[in-house]
């Protein structure tokens, strides 16, 4: 969700920059207590991890990219204060060293992804951890849910900035932009949630002392009479289905003709996580169609393509999700079997 230079007007960019600097100073003050021997390398690793997953990106709106954000992952592993710093560092290095995201839009980008994303992710995570059991599946599901909430809300942060400072009067309403961003980012959130859940669950099982959200407490073994793991897995998939299916339908089913459908054309590619190139291809087709006639055929063609790509996207998300959950379950069984024997982890250290 990197915003490049010139999308949002100068005064709004400046105001967001001032707010971002102020909040980062607050984070720095609070992080000083947290950033001890244990957390310093962890913070670097989390930043590197987020840097790596943010490399998979694709365009969403003019001048705005879509990709995994990593706020919830950072909040779970290093806490909200250091987490916000980690994501900010990623954004600063990307702007200065990789020309990704405008230098003058750094305040906007940090506000959305580092501050809003991490804060919301942490709050959602704390709330979900209260509700869910402290088992591997419970923690995984909490991280999964927190990722989706944090990514979608961060995307709405951009919509707010666009309302405040985007100086383009568009024929599509802000509601439509909001729905498009939410739709794209709900799908991104599902992908991010699966990755973050896989990472945090593994770390929580082997080194619970490294998971900030657990405050160092060990995971409980699933109670024999409790809710079986399968129910959790199916529940998670159901949430993913509702979000991915429902919201993307909302975004692409809007009745507003060419403009909405072309913009929503990218919605579909939210799974660009997996099929990265397809949106660019779609942009090319859009452009060609725009260059010929803006006839009904064109609109219909794009509309159909949108629906089809949406179906493929949802199916692919499910395939990946199933595979990851299946793998996680297999590993859990293996880990349970290994724990019967003398713990191999201790020997490794």
């Amino acid at each position: 969700m990197h915003i490049s230079n010139g999308i949002i007007g100068g005064p709004v960019s400046l105001a967001y920059g001032v707010v971002a600097v102020g909040l980062l100073a607050l984070c720095l003050g609070r992080a000083r207590q947290d950033l001890n021997e244990r957390l310093a390398p962890m913070a670097g690793l989390v930043a590197a991890f987020i840097f790596a997953v943010q490399m998979l990106n694709f365009p969403v709106l003019p001048g705005v990219s879509g990709h995994l954000l990593g706020g919830a992952l950072a909040a779970a592993l290093v806490g909200p204060w250091v987490g916000a710093l980690c994501v900010s560092v990623v954004l600063i290095v990307q702007a200065l060293v990789f020309a990704d995201g405008g230098i003058s839009a750094l305040g906007l980008n940090i506000s959305n992804m580092a501050l809003l994303g991490t804060a919301v992710g942490y709050l959602a995570l704390v709330a979900l951890l209260k509700l869910l059991p402290r088992t591997a599946a419970g923690v995984g599901l909490a991280v999964f849910g927190a990722s989706i909430v944090s990514v979608v809300l961060a995307s709405q942060g951009f919509v707010l900035q666009f309302v405040l400072g985007g100086d383009v009067p568009l024929t599509i309403g802000y509601g439509q932009i909001s729905a498009t961003m939410a739709g794209v980012h709900a799908l991104i959130g599902v992908g991010e949630g699966l990755i973050a859940a896989a990472a945090v669950t593994t770390v929580a099982k082997v080194r619970p002392d490294l998971v900030y959200a657990l405050r160092g407490s060990r995971l409980e073994r699933p109670a024999p009479g409790g809710v079986p793991t399968k129910v959790f897995l199916l529940g998670g998939l159901a949430v993913a289905a509702a979000l991915a299916g429902g919201v993307s339908y909302l975004a692409s089913g809007s009745p507003d003709g060419l403009d909405a459908t072309t913009l929503a054309g990218c919605t579909v590619d939210a799974d660009g996580v997996i099929t990265g190139g397809s949106c660019i291809a779609q942009q090319a087709t859009d452009h060609e169609l725009g260059g010929s006639f803006l006839a009904d055929y064109g609109i219909k063609g794009i509309d159909n393509a949108t629906g089809l790509a949406g179906l493929i996207g949802v199916a692919l998300t499910f395939a990946v999700g199933l595979a990851i959950f299946w793998a996680a379950r297999r590993r859990r069984h293996a880990a349970a079997a290994a724990e019967q024997a003398p713990a191999p982890v201790a020997a490794e250290k």
Binding site: I7, L45, F49, P62, S65, T202, Q283, A327
Partner: protein, 256 residues
């Protein structure tokens, strides 16, 4: 582990821009970008002058034009969507090449296109002439809080650790006759993700402890600061770039 001194965006060279103190280059890039973004979009000659300044810097830095073009292509999909804006914007419409487009949208698209492109080119010039470590040294000298430079330092270090660890795990899988094709790989990839994270962390933790035991206190080593701190002369020369941009902006705003 010996290749971690630079980053893929760095163009090795010995031009005067390469040898400039990093803090001056960072400050100049940021200020120049701010001036470009603050320029009203109707001032076409000003943007032409900015492009000339960027071109002159590229020549000074001996960065090949082909490299700049190739690298800025990465950003193209994001900026190029600005082409769609003229069709969506509201307001009075005009005809361009037989297509009906909104005047306001045309301006907005141009605005994003020109400011985005100039911003990317400036950032590429900074990245192409400054190794990542020097960017951090520069940020440190610009009084960036220690926590941020420290996290950034570890991040750059761990990017290599992560990549190496992933490569080793992949080789281990290959040598155990796993067939890594895309769909077949998904399960192994998912299972390996958490493990990769943990293995990279434990390696990184050992690296950190080794650094601590050799006297690392969280500050960048003093040796990095020797001999390369910006002189007043460098600051003065560096200030020319944003100052020139301001002159262009004012001249175009009030004289033309």
């Amino acid at each position: 582990m010996g290749a971690g001194h630079t980053h893929p965006m760095y163009v090795h060279g010995h031009s005067s821009v390469h040898h400039f103190a990093p803090e001056v280059k960072i400050a100049a890039s940021v200020l120049f970008t701010v001036v470009v973004v603050a320029t009203p979009r109707e001032l076409l000659p000003a943007f032409g002058a900015y492009a000339l300044i960027v071109a002159a810097l590229a020549v000074l830095a001996r960065i090949p034009a082909g490299w700049l073009a190739r690298r800025s292509l990465i950003e193209l999909p994001f900026v190029a969507t600005a082409v769609l804006l003229p069709f969506f914007a509201a307001g009075p419409r005009t005809d361009v090449l037989g297509l009906s487009v909104a005047v306001e949208g045309l301006w907005a698209g141009w605005n994003i296109l020109v400011k985005g492109t100039l911003g990317v080119l400036i950032a590429l010039l900074l990245a192409g002439t400054t190794p990542a470590r020097d960017v951090l040294v520069g940020l440190d000298r610009l009084r960036t809080p220690q926590a941020i430079t420290q996290i950034a330092l570890f991040m750059l270090r761990y990017l290599d650790v992560l990549a190496d660890e992933a490569r080793r795990m992949r080789i281990a899988r290959l040598s155990r006759l796993d067939d890594p094709r895309f769909l077949w790989q998904v399960r192994g990839f998912a299972a390996g993700l958490g493990t990769l994270f943990l293995r990279a962390f434990e390696r990184g933790e050992r690296v950190f402890l080794a650094m601590r035991s050799r006297g690392y206190t969280g500050r960048l080593p003093a040796a990095l600061h020797e001999g390369s701190v910006a002189t007043a002369r460098q600051w003065a020369i560096g200030a020319v770039v944003p100052a020139l941009a301001v002159v262009v902006l004012l001249a175009d705003r009030f004289l033309v």
